[in-house]
Subunit: 164 residues, 2 copies
């Protein structure tokens, strides 16, 4: 999370921002689970993130320009939103999921969204990124009439939950 990394290698530069497992899992939950509040992120964590680690990673992600804190009135809970650089992690998340599907044991309920993303490929990722831009940055997406990738991902997940 430092501005000056250990080397100027682009892979290292990325890892310095997101190469911590909890950081990536927090971003995943904001991105795919649309969880924007501390309590939601804590209660919904499949991996059981600890509250002090969540607080630390949210702080670092804001400092690194990956999340923004929506201004709220005193006493109101803080909303975290993805920034453009964070939204551009979608292809990395999709590839991480695709690799896990092929090479590691996974759970059906948690697998369906990664399967959909892997099958959909770069076209679906671009659609999903456009929807995240709308929902997190307020930038209207093109093709307003089309059923959204977000909707399809949510449907697939709901169907898998119903089956399990």
């Amino acid at each position: 999370m430092r501005d000056e990394g250990r080397s100027g290698c682009p892979i290292n530069a990325t890892i310095e921002v997101i190469g911590d497992r909890w950081t990536l899992l927090v971003l995943r939950d904001v991105m795919f689970g649309n969880r924007r509040y501390f309590r939601e992120l804590l209660a919904g964590s499949e991996e059981g993130i600890a509250s002090n680690i969540l607080a630390d990673r949210l702080k670092r992600l804001v400092a690194a320009g990956m999340l923004s804190r929506a201004d709220s009135r005193p006493g109101q809970k803080v909303e975290y939103r993805l920034t453009e650089p964070a939204i551009q992690l979608v292809p990395i998340m999709a590839q991480l999921g695709a690799w896990g599907l092929r090479h590691r044991p996974t759970t059906k309920r948690l697998r369906v969204r990664a399967e959909l993303l892997a099958e959909g490929g770069p076209e679906l990722w671009a659609e999903f990124m456009a929807e995240l831009r709308e929902s997190h940055l307020g930038i209207p997406r093109p093709d307003q009439d089309r059923p959204t990738a977000t909707h399809r991902l949510a449907q697939a997940y709901a169907a898998a939950v119903a089956e399990s």
Copy 2:
């Protein structure tokens, strides 16, 4: 690196194997730098990996089935080779590099290979993976007459070194 992860999510499952910055950097150096020996990996590390961390990550990568240790006679140095699952990380490495190029400060000399991989897209990644299979697993690649992606990556790097 445990067999049983904290959740069955495919993204988490991948992160449990490679979601440690040094682990990813060691794999990067075997993959793109063709460094196969402890001393090479230690001396060539752009990020200055410590010798105990390198030893630990190599051990974990072998245990996780990401690297194999080529059997050697006593007294001979151990050679590490990428396994098939590790070779299938090429698209993830390419996307990590592409994101770093766009969003973080990087060094010209260390940037050229990531640029080539980003421009070449999935077709170049597949070619490079076929070459890694030949070189690490002994599986002959198709199109033996074609100049290799490995060669083009090495050339681009050498040109950038000469300029800097």
